[in-house]
Subunit: 229 residues, 2 copies
DNA sequence: GTCTATAGTGCGATAGAC
DNA sequence: GTCTATCGCACTATAGAC
């Protein structure tokens, strides 16, 4: 699947917010669904934008009022504290990422196919949700201890996904991976660079499909048994 | 050179601060060199520690007073504003990193040797100065536009160092690199992971020498001409 | 050279009007 | 459902005592 195909079937911010609202109906004061969705989308986008410019802590709620064109009082109808706002964004984003990743990987049948899909999908996700990925990485250390723990768990879970694919490949003799844990970590490190250094790749006009292909080629060269070369 | 050899010849925080003081004597009010060095070391270490826990912006000067056991007034004898403090740390760190990297690379004679040295030295530096590397990465976006520019330049400069080594290797036929820019970027991405995800590698008891060797092996597999295999 | 005290600003959060 | 007004607090920075 190319990036274009991926975006066409990817869920929109509206759908994500609608899902969020339906699961948290109790804690949001406003009752008209369409009003909630519209404002939630505005609030989340503005928060991601402002936080990625200056950091979540440095973003004041007055900044957020200006950007969303909502008043202080209106904002507080959608969350109960600034800290809850960051927690909601982190949790909802993680859930979407996990869901999409697992769905896509299950479409592959061989370890080689699964590896390609896992790498591409992770990159495509971080391209569609680039603001969220950057935000999630940069703000983790400012979360409560409990939310930090969830964030670390999620990092290790996606890494484990790669490690498992590599080890399956070893068992089926299509790969020859000597250190699957380190190899998995390095794959994640390279995927991460795509959203942490987005400015660099944009300036060089490197597309996400080119980047995906390149990483896949690098990793395949490393893990393909010499007899298959 | 192993990590142990590297640490033995690496400059200490005292020397770094002494150098800093001698170049900025005018803007620091205190006149007794030994007092200045001692307090600067304390202030920088405390700033790195606190910032890496909660972010520089979230670290209040009262936090810094507590940690350094200096008063507000005393702190302001060493810098003129909170922003200047972050700028000094960023600039001094960058200078040390550049100096050490260039010194070490010039010791290598072949591209292959230079590549090994560049990768190891970058990792060793980020191990000795792990707090600074993490700080530098996380706080760049909170700097003034001018300091941000310097930070980006420095990132691109070290990346260029890798790209140049790869292209030298191409010319001398010891490497066969098809996309030196992307390859250089990915090397940087993997080096970066060592200090951004330090907790992960510590927990797994992976040493910096093991990590260096692994990256070198991965990259060499990718860029060694097939006729040499 | 270091301290304490305080000025001045802007923050997160809420109550009550509309 | 949204707004304005306001409270109490924590912040950076400085002035002047020791």
């Amino acid at each position: 699947m190319s990036f274009r195909d991926f975006t066409n079937q990817m869920v929109s911010m509206e759908e994500i917010c609608r899902d969020l609202y339906r699961r948290h109906r109790k804690s949001i004061k406003i009752k008209k669904e369409e009003v909630v969705i519209k404002n939630l989308v505005t609030i989340f986008n503005a928060t991601l934008e402002l936080s990625n410019q200056k950091g979540f802590h440095a973003m004041s709620l007055r900044d957020l009022c200006r950007e969303t064109e909502l008043s202080m009082g209106a904002l507080y109808s959608y969350f109960t504290s600034k800290e809850e706002l960051v927690d909601i964004i982190q949790n909802q984003g993680r859930q979407v990422v996990m869901k999409v990743l697992l769905e896509q990987i299950n479409r592959g049948s061989t370890p080689r196919e699964k590896l390609h899909i896992a790498i591409s999908t992770h990159l495509y996700l971080s391209e569609v949700m680039k603001q969220w990925f950057y935000f999630s990485f940069m703000e983790t250390k400012n979360l409560s201890k409990d939310e930090q723990r969830k964030s670390i768990e999620s990092e290790l879970f996606t890494e484990k996904m790669f490690i498992d694919i590599l080890e399956d490949g070893n068992r089926e003799n299509c790969f020859e991976v000597q250190n699957s844990v380190l190899t998995g970590s390095l794959i994640k490190a390279m995927l991460q660079d795509w959203y942490l250094k987005r400015w660099k790749y944009s300036k060089r006009n490197i597309t996400v499909d080119e980047y995906a292909e390149f990483i896949i080629r690098l990793i395949e060269t490393f893990i393909t048994p010499s007899s298959n070369k």
